[in-house]
């Protein structure tokens, strides 16, 4: 049946298909591609001293020679890297558990893992300050049992890391779970039969089959974390700051749109690099 439908839909329907994707393609071109092109043009084609316009890379030269801007970039890369590693460490066990466990508890675990998706990050930031912040709930509980106070991560670079990891758990778990769906029970059972222990099953049977999903999950969350705004703004240190708050501040408070656009283009270049991982793994999947 399926194949006959596909034949019937063949040549004659092709324009309809193209028409269906025309709207999203047009929107991407208009709202994404064109602003990128115009941003790059505005930062490299700038008014010169003699009144005319000319090719000029000075804003980029400034960014890459300015220790303050570079610190902000390093902090963003550091936060993204640490978050990616932590996400993998936290989410892979959850996803594996959900894939192979049955019963009621698994349902509750899944509900809990998906919960952060429904909590706005501004509320998360407030909850974080009340719980982990100075004299917050954790401090009070530690105090009550006579333990010393903790040095709170609020207003240090670890503040946004904790918030961002929590915020990105659902997406990562869902993507990993989808990847684990393709791992057949038979393969696992066969490996068990020949005497593989849990670690060996994971390493030789499961991991090779989900490596693609891991890449997809990481590139998705990394894209979000790299350009995060709310959590670094509310929980992070004053300086260095992540690229999101840095761009906003340069644009609004320092009144320097060209420098802000330069920062945006640089951020975008890093995101493209992460995006390529995703595209590559999707393409590799197709090739199979």
């Amino acid at each position: 049946m399926a194949s006959s439908v596909r034949i019937a839909a063949g040549e004659g329907r092709r324009p309809v298909g193209l028409l269906l994707v025309a709207v999203p393609v047009f929107l991407v071109g208009w709202l994404v591609i064109w602003p990128i092109v115009s941003a790059i043009l505005r930062t490299v084609w700038r008014p010169q001293g003699d009144g005319g316009m000319g090719f000029d890379l000075s804003t980029y030269a400034f960014f890459f020679s300015d220790a303050y801007s570079l610190n902000n970039l390093y902090l963003t890369l550091w936060t993204t890297g640490v978050c990616a590693v932590l996400l993998l460490i936290v989410c892979l066990p959850i996803a594996l558990y959900l894939r192979f466990a049955n019963g009621k508890i698994a349902v509750y675990v899944q509900a809990l893992a998906i919960l952060p998706m429904f909590v706005p990050s501004i509320i998360l930031a407030y909850a974080f300050i009340r719980v982990l912040g100075p004299n917050g709930m954790v401090d009070l509980l530690l105090n009550a049992v006579g333990l010393p106070k903790i040095r709170t991560p609020y207003l240090t670079p670890w503040g946004p890391v904790i918030g961002l990891v929590w915020d990105n758990i659902p997406l990562t778990v869902v993507i990993l779970l989808a990847g684990l769906g393709s791992v057949s029970n038979m393969a696992v059972e066969a490996a068990r039969d020949v005497g593989a222990n849990r670690l060996q099953v994971f390493w030789h049977i499961v991991l090779p089959q989900i490596s693609n999903s891991v890449l997809v999950a990481l590139s998705f969350s990394v894209l979000g974390i790299f350009s995060a705004f709310t959590l670094p703004y509310l929980l992070g240190p004053a300086s260095p700051e992540m690229m999101g708050p840095f761009m906003q501040r340069t644009f609004r408070d320092v009144n320097d749109p060209i420098a802000a656009i330069t920062q945006a283009v640089i951020t975008f270049c890093f995101c493209i690099a992460f995006g390529l991982f995703y595209v590559r793994s999707v393409a590799r999947n197709r090739g199979r």
Binding site: Y68, N71, L75, W78, I129, G133, P134, N135, G136, R151, T152, L155, T156, P157, Y233, L234, P237, A238, S239, P240, E241, R249, R252, D253, V254, N255, D256
Partner: protein, 383 residues
């Protein structure tokens, strides 16, 4: 089937919303009002001024819009100048607080109404100390003070000059915090007080027009050294809260002993029970922390200019000015003679004789960026 029904109804309502007329033109009899102030000011307008004004002037509505920050107000003013050149509708009538000197040339372009000549019946009541331009109307004042916890710091030992304050901060590491200067006036004016300190305690040394890079670097550079010097003794070895409210919160949680605050916000916080009754307030004696009057500005090309002028006159009436004292914890914009004797007596100790100010414009950008570059990079990201 359920899924299809859901899709159809969702698509239908989205399409319906897109077909609704967009609010792209200023409505007749609706004053488009913008503010860059904190939410307590917006709440005060929403809950007190708006109902009173609309009751007194039937047919006129107030559309209260939060413009975010000063830069937000600036961009609306720039939009209004552009609208002026094309004779279009600026969709703005009234700025709750703006400096008429900004954007540059706005007064010359005729963007703002001259309040002195506008024939406001209450203009004569305005406190002469507060008038700064004929094009703006001071209607409420507030000042940055230092709030502290009297259970940890007895009022007798509280620092009363800048030098005593620095000594106290260094003697009590971790007990003082101020917010990032661009995220709220309490920390911003603490930074400006440091700038005054190293420039001869003379607020008149800085004006909107006298910023040059060389003067800025020299005048601000000394202040950065001063602030860098106290940074290690601040909360968490140099952490800065991200706004006025966050500073108050740290004080309320007993994390710090002292922090700069806006007078109106701290009075409100005490009356709402956010801060305990034991919260003390002190102003520096050698030179007060900056503060200032919020000055309303009316746009001359606004569609509802006359109604906006009525509003400007209305906020100078005794009822509203008393409400600013009692409900907002601010200072009145009119002379104290026009406030009821009972209130005058009650607030005797916060009646200011001078309120130092610091210009916005190029200075603001220089202070904000300079602070981040020079003072803040103190915290170790691996710690």
């Amino acid at each position: 089937m359920k899924r299809r029904a859901f899709l159809i109804s969702t698509a239908g309502s989205v399409a319906g919303m897109m077909l609704l007329p967009r609010m792209s033109f200023a409505a007749e009899g609706q004053i488009d009002w913008y503010t860059a102030s904190d939410s307590n000011i917006l709440d005060f307008w929403t809950n007190t001024i708006k109902p009173a004004f609309e009751a007194a002037h039937s047919g006129v509505k107030l559309n209260l819009v939060d413009a975010g920050d000063n830069a937000g107000i600036q961009s609306i003013a720039e939009r209004a100048i552009a609208a002026m050149q094309t004779n279009a509708d600026p969709q703005a009538d009234y700025f709750e607080h703006a400096d008429p000197r900004l954007p540059k040339g706005a007064i010359e372009a005729g963007l703002y109404v001259n309040m002195k000549d506008a024939g406001l019946s209450n203009y004569a009541k305005v406190n002469p100390l507060a008038i700064d331009s004929d094009y703006s109307l001071p209607y409420r004042g507030s000042q940055v003070l230092l709030a502290y916890d009297t259970t940890k710091l007895p009022p007798a030992d509280v620092p009363k000059t800048w030098d005593e304050l620095v000594t106290w901060i260094k003697a009590n590491p971790g007990q003082f915090v101020y917010n990032r200067p661009d995220k709220g006036g309490s920390g911003g004016n603490f930074v400006r007080r440091a700038i005054h300190q190293v420039n001869g305690l003379d607020p008149k040394a800085f004006t909107v027009g006298n910023y040059t890079e060389a003067f800025g670097n020299e005048a601000l550079g000394k202040a950065w050294d001063l602030l860098k010097d106290i940074a290690p003794a601040l909360y968490d070895g140099g952490a800065y809260s991200s706004g006025n409210t966050q500073s108050i919160q740290l004080l309320a949680q007993g994390v710090v002993t002292m922090t700069p605050v806006w007078s109106d916000q701290v009075l409100q916080a005490i009356s709402e029970g956010v801060l305990p009754e034991t919260t003390g307030m002190v102003q520096l004696r050698d030179l007060a922390l900056c503060g200032g009057f919020s000055r309303a500005v009316v746009l001359s090309n606004g569609k509802n200019r006359d109604a906006a002028l009525k509003l400007a006159d209305f906020i100078l009436t005794e009822d509203i000015q008393s409400a600013i004292l009692t409900e907002l914890g601010g200072f009145p914009g009119v002379s104290w003679d026009y406030v009821s004797a009972e209130l005058r007596e009650k607030f005797a100790d916060i009646i200011p004789t001078t309120i130092p100010t610091f210009p916005a414009g190029a200075w603001e950008a220089a202070v904000n960026d300079g602070w981040y570059r020079n003072v803040a990079p103190n915290i170790d990201r691996k710690s």
